[in-house]
Assembly symmetry: C2
DNA sequence: ACCTGAACACCGTTCAAGT
DNA sequence: ACCTGAACACCGTTCAAGT
């Protein structure tokens, strides 16, 4: 494990434990057993380190999607499983989820990150394509359906994280919303 | 205009000009013609000031929605106009949009903000209700449809801000996605 | 090539006064 | 009640050395 990887790992752990504000370069360096500015030998600045964490998480998500796609479930179940893994990720690692899907400044500045998120969306598109072939989704453009699915998931988990989807308010959960969308699309 | 309002206004302007990182209490105080810690006489800390900006924007959005709802358009056009105003807000004032719809730490900590966002969602629900009565939306629970619409809009504008929806990639725009969703729901 | 320690400018926050 | 100025601890970043 290279020093660079150790720094990325340390930053990810700090994100999980204390959110983005806990990721100071001093804390990252210390957690990796190095000095407070060792990170500068591997990353241009703090944003570049955060972008590296996001890129690693995106790559991992893309792999998860690829695994799901090579399973034996029906295309629609595979798609739902992939979207479900995004929901899980946002709940278990909210700070890292935000970095990946809701950090415009980071995403705009880092072409590598853009490429990784395009690859991730690509996996979703492949699943949508399979669903359409199996007649499990309406015959709309694949890219449109895929981006709509991803957007809906992202919007729902963000609203959940913001406390806008709460049982006491009679609002449906993320899962219930997804089911409804699926049934509306089926006809 | 009270001093408190001046501080909120100054923070909002700084958000528009330089994003969240530009909102230092020193800059806010200075922009309001006060010292660097005058904000502390009106807000518990920086987060409380940002929450006040978000609450003001939410209230303004809710008013806009109420205006649209009292127009003479068809219910469906009113709903689309309301969602469109959210898209416009996110494009013209991205930092403030993020504060309102994508700042979990802020939202969780401030009950006032929670109440304002519930009121805003309430307006959307009323429009959905009108659409259902006019037969312009399927007969699903109002709360489900409303949260699904809001989530979809939020997801789409976030993806756009992140650079994930780009013409060159053959991906549909926010508007195209909305049209598709509307047509899928209609039939 | 990779790392450290000192240093700088900046920021959130607190505190003791001022009117 | 509202404001100011000094002060503190902390942080991102830079720089001059060290191996």
């Amino acid at each position: 494990m290279t020093t660079r990887d150790k720094l990325v790992q340390a930053a990810a752990t700090l994100l999980d434990r204390g959110g983005e504000q806990a990721v100071t370069l001093r804390a990252v360096g210390h957690a990796a057993g190095l000095s407070h500015n060792a990170p500068y030998k591997h990353f241009r600045n703090r944003d570049a380190l955060l972008a590296a964490v996001a890129a690693a998480d995106l790559e991992s998500l893309t792999c998860t999607f690829a695994d799901i796609r090579s399973s034996t479930q029906s295309p629609k179940d595979e798609l739902l499983a992939a979207l479900g893994s995004l929901v899980t990720f946002s709940r278990e690692r909210p700070a890292r989820y935000r970095l990946v899907f809701s950090a415009p400044t980071l995403a705009q500045a880092d072409p590598d990150l853009q490429a990784q998120s395009a690859a991730c969306l690509g996996e979703i598109m492949a699943m949508v394509e399979d669903c359409k072939k199996a007649g499990e989704l309406p015959d709309a453009p694949t890219k449109s359906l895929a981006s709509l699915f991803l957007a809906t998931i992202h919007g729902l988990v963000t609203m959940e994280a913001n406390g806008m989807l709460q049982r006491e308010k009679g609002l449906p959960t993320v899962e219930e919303n997804l089911e409804m969308m699926a049934s509306l699309l089926s006809g």
